[in-house]
């Protein structure tokens, strides 16, 4: 497999025509920047410590990698797999990434401020912090700084996003008070500490390491996640998010296929269509789920001659024929489906609150904007940029500096987050959701590693009435044995699986949390003291009368009676409410029991029921 300098393993693999991870429940699943299997150098043992993420691992000349997820086909069948799939079995494992999460961490350099995210908001926060005299560690998951502003274009009076990203990135790299870690993803955070996984070249190989960064303050500027419209086949190979496609083409020069259809509820996706058209890609149609949308991008793309279908949502997508062509069925339109090499989808944007939730931050569903937004504050942790809910590049940049003011307790300045009047720029529409179609490819709630399908009620056909129903797939979100991403929770709200008022709680509850050691000692303490031979547990108090006595039981033959065995006045009684005593425990002096005062003082014969047998005994009162 060939690649170029600057490629990641993921971009090199995609550029080589591989676009499929493997098969889940009989349906192929596409390879994207949010869903890929963990890999390791082929020369290293299959140990989670050696696992690497495909999108953060630089391609190295001559390196040989294997995936950590088990292969789907076995034996000779592997030799006959089509060349576009990694052939992984996705039904038996969830090891997409993060295999390193449960391992130990080395201690990193403490810092005054940790900035998570190297987009414009994170870069701005880092620069504002150094102006305030703080030492900064900036962590970016991709191999480069700048973030994802490029897709969203420019507002009047702004420089281009590329200029903005480049200028801020250069300033950060030139600032000696800022330590930059790229290819490093923070996966757990709490006030005072963050844990990250970084990929770094070492002796001709890529090496992963897990590091704890003690940080007095933290800015979370992790951006937004593009939401996946919900329709059958929404994760087939060839279905790609608009941001994913934009990054792949602008960062790595990779664009699979020669034509594409765009299905969107947002305006920036139109910009992608124009950029693709400029590059010679045929945009066959733009399906916009909004019935009446207006935007400069829409007007421009119309001028390009692109066919636009307002008010159109996808019903389902299937594989038209081997080799990668997709057939796209549009809701409410029967007839011949649309055929395309690639389907670009854009379902709107959800602030990435994953780390905010892991740190204990709260959030809530914002009905008007159709997304989960942060709520409240955390000690020593602040949000910035689109993760904090800002829309514009200007707002994101200013919010970076505002986050520093907030953390330092300084007076706050109003963040200017301009939006264009809806008359000229229609806001993003709600997430497009097709009617469920259980007879076609699965519909997933998100494009991430979770592979969480749209829950469906159990189906019982008339002929099944006589049969006990077997597993029928996930029917409830609460039963999903996996973390729920914030986008999956948002989809759950749109699908009425989660009440709006509970969205924030569920998102926080179901985030993939990695416990970090706290400042306190949380060793498992023994709440229990030793047991003495004649001790009477409190729950036996009064059970056999107010003056019950501890006695030694004498049996005809030495015998170990079990704790809890009930003692009765005769062999005719057996109900626990008729018991006159109970065996406490077996000691070196024989079995000790708690019996009623009358039995103890008179030394009456009794019957012990133990292991299905009746054992005659007498009670011997202890001298003390």
């Amino acid at each position: 497999m060939s690649g170029f300098v600057g490629d990641t393993i993921l971009s090199a693999v995609l550029a080589s025509g591989v676009d499929t991870i493997g098969v889940s429940q009989g349906s192929p699943v596409g390879l994207t920047s949010r869903a890929y299997p963990a890999i390791r150098h082929a020369s290293l043992a299959n140990d989670p410590r050696f696992a690497l993420p495909m999108d953060r691992t630089p391609a190295l000349d001559g390196a040989e990698f294997v995936t950590c997820v088990p292969p789907q086909a076995r034996g000779l069948a592997r030799l006959f797999q089509p060349g576009r799939t990694l052939g992984r079995d996705l039904d038996t494992t969830t090891a997409f990434e993060g295999m390193w999460k449960s391992g130990p961490a080395e201690r990193g350099e403490p810092t005054d401020l940790l900035v998570v995210g190297g987009g414009v908001a994170g870069l701005s926060a880092a620069l504002a912090a150094t102006r305030a005299g703080l030492g900064v560690t900036l962590v970016e998951s991709r191999p480069f700084l700048g973030g994802y502003s490029g897709l969203f274009g420019t507002l009047e009076g702004e420089d281009s996003p590329e200029e903005s990203m480049s200028r801020l990135g250069a300033e950060v790299l030139a600032d000696s008070a800022i330590s930059v870690l790229t290819s490093a993803a923070v996966f757990s955070v709490r006030p005072g500490l963050a844990r990250l996984h970084q990929v770094e070249p070492s002796n001709g190989q890529n090496r992963g390491r897990v590091v704890d960064i003690p940080a007095a303050r933290t800015v979370i500027a992790t951006g937004s996640i593009e939401r996946l419209p919900i329709f059958a086949g929404n994760r087939l190979p060839g279905v790609t998010g608009s941001l994913d496609a934009y990054e792949l083409v602008t960062r790595f020069g990779v664009w699979p296929g020669r034509n594409a259809i765009l299905a969107t509820a947002t305006n920036p996706a139109y910009r992608l269509a124009m950029l693709a058209s400029d590059a010679g890609i045929e945009i066959r149609r733009i399906l916009d789920s909004r019935p009446h949308s207006a935007s400069r991008f829409i007007a421009f793309s119309r001028a390009y001659g692109m066919v636009q279908s307002p008010g159109a949502t996808i019903a389902s997508v299937g594989v038209a024929r081997a080799g990668g062509t997709l057939s796209v069925h549009v809701e409410g339109r029967s007839g011949i489906p649309l055929v395309t090499d690639r389907l670009l989808v854009s379902g709107g944007w959800q602030p990435d609150l994953t780390l905010w939730h892991i740190a204990g931050g709260a959030s809530q569903w914002q009905h008007e904007r159709g997304r989960i937004e942060p709520r409240g504050d955390l000690d020593g942790i602040a949000l910035a940029g689109s993760a904090a809910g800002y829309y514009s590049r200007r707002g994101c940049i200013q919010s970076g500096a505002d986050a520093i003011d907030k953390l330092l307790g300084r007076p706050r300045r109003q963040v200017d987050d301009p939006t264009i009047d809806p008359i000229y720029e229609t806001p993003d529409g709600p997430l497009a959701i097709a009617a469920p179609d259980p007879d076609t490819a699965p519909a997933y709630l998100d494009g991430g590693p979770g592979l969480l399908q749209r829950p469906v009620p159990p189906r019982r056909r008339p002929w099944q009435v006589l049969w006990r129903s077997g597993p029928s797939g996930l029917t409830l979100l609460s039963e999903a044995p996996q973390p729920l991403s914030v986008t999956e929770v948002a989809a759950g709200v749109e699908l009425d699986l989660i009440p709006e008022r509970a969205a924030g709680i569920v998102a926080q509850e179901r985030v993939a949390s990695i416990p970090l050691a706290s400042e306190q000692d949380h060793s498992v303490t023994d709440l229990w003291g030793p047991v003495g031979p004649g001790d009477v547990p409190p729950y036996l108090a009064g059970r056999f009368g107010p003056d019950a006595k501890v006695v030694r039981l004498l049996t005809a033959e030495p015998r170990a009676l079990e704790t809890g065995a009930l003692i009765f006045p005769n062999s005719d009684t057996r109900h626990p409410r008729e018991a006159i005593g109970v065996v406490l425990r077996f000691t070196s002096e024989g079995p000790m029991a708690l019996v009623s005062s009358a039995v103890a003082t008179a030394g009456l014969p009794v019957v012990v029921r133990d292991k299905g047998q009746t054992v005659p005994a007498t009670a011997a009162l202890q001298a003390d």
Binding site: G98, K101, L476, E479, I505, V531, G564, P576
Partner: protein, 358 residues
């Protein structure tokens, strides 16, 4: 009585709360308001409804064994056959005192119709002892909740989402919603969350104390010894779902609980947390359940029933409605929350034993 006046305002989200509300309205012909929502379909589990529990008092076993069949029939009517599942839960313990309690429970359970057998130590790992309780009943909460909505409507239970609630010292409740105000002659706080949220602090009974609880859901792992397990030493429940994920819940703060859970499941298991939450639970000082009006005259509360609460719902509804059987009347009267704690005959086995859980 006006449309906004009710006999009872039942607060709570658990099956116990909803069943009691429906029974008070349908069987006992009271006008009932329910404040609480079903949420088993999207929230992490914080409890389980079982017909067996770590009960060390025969009188409580007796009440429970009387009401289990009645509750099972009721749930069957409400939610269909899938609302009640037959399970073989395993209780286990390691500390000598908890092991002794387990043995007392195991010897008593058969007397009340629940077969109990020891579990081989090899199935549990470590130095643990265990007992399996055969053919116990478990309420399938998601299935039950899907039927409860229609059933409660049939019983004419009014459901509201209250914005503010006032509970007077005589037990009357005043509730304000978007659409207006409601009054109920008697408030019933039927689960820990409702008590914590709505019981005025000045009415807080001495018997109660708050304990931090945690619930964690793990990614799939290999099968446990049973799909339902309870560690008596700590009060931690482990429930394994069909997909293999383990939902654990019980006392302890999140850091302690997470570490303890990993210890229970075995360090060699590669699992990750698929969800986690902390919440406040309640316990009584003597480990026994508590019912009745706070300070003898205030809101009715229900606390400390653990996993079996839903299975005594019919008896509780009768008692609240003033029509209990003699056995029920005696049992509930002995377990009034206004008790002073001097009666040691009520003390139940408890992992907290009056000490704060970390």
């Amino acid at each position: 009585m006006s449309e906004t006046d009710f006999d009872f305002a039942v607060f709570g989200s658990t099956p116990l709360a909803q069943l009691v509300a429906g029974l008070l309205a349908g069987t006992h012909d009271r006008k009932v308001l329910l404040i609480g929502e079903s949420r088993a379909s999207y929230r992490l589990p914080r409890g389980i409804d079982l017909s067996v529990a770590p009960i060390t008092r025969p009188q409580t076993w007796a009440l429970l064994s009387d009401t289990v069949p009645e509750t099972a029939r009721l749930v069957g009517r409400v939610s269909g056959r899938g609302g009640v599942l037959r399970v073989d839960p395993v209780f286990f313990a390691e500390n000598p005192q908890a092991v002794e309690a387990l043995l007392h429970i195991r010897h008593m359970a058969p007397g009340f119709g629940t077969a109990a057998e020891p579990v081989p130590q090899s199935s549990l790992g470590g130095n643990r002892s265990g007992a399996v309780f055969r053919d116990a009943l478990r309420l399938n909460r998601p299935q039950l909740e899907s039927g409860l909505e229609a059933w409660l409507a049939d019983q004419k239970v009014a459901r509201i989402a209250a914005q503010s609630v006032g509970i007077a010292e005589d037990g009357q409740a005043e509730l304000v919603t978007d659409s207006g105000s409601y009054r109920a002659r008697q408030a019933v706080l039927a689960d820990d969350e409702a008590i914590t949220a709505w019981l005025p602090l000045r009415q807080w009974p001495k018997q109660l104390r708050r304990i931090e609880h945690t619930a964690i859901l793990t990614t799939p792992t290999r099968p446990l010894a049973s799909s339902i397990m309870l560690e008596l030493d700590s009060g931690v429940f482990l429930t394994q779902q069909p997909e293999g994920g383990v939902a654990a819940f019980g006392p302890g703060d999140r850091a302690w609980f997470s570490e303890h859970l990993q210890g229970l499941l075995g360090r060699e298991r590669q699992i990750e947390q698929a969800g986690q939450t902390s919440y406040s639970g309640l316990a009584t000082m003597d480990g026994a359940p508590a019912f009745g009006r706070v300070a003898g005259a205030g809101a009715d509360i229900v606390v400390g029933t653990g996993s079996y609460g839903a299975f005594i719902a019919p008896a509780l509804a009768r008692w609240l409605a003033g029509t209990p059987s003699p056995l029920e009347a005696q049992w509930f009267d002995h377990h009034l929350v206004s008790r002073d704690g001097a009666d040691r005959r009520l003390v139940e086995f408890s992992w907290t034993r009056g000490e704060p859980v970390r």
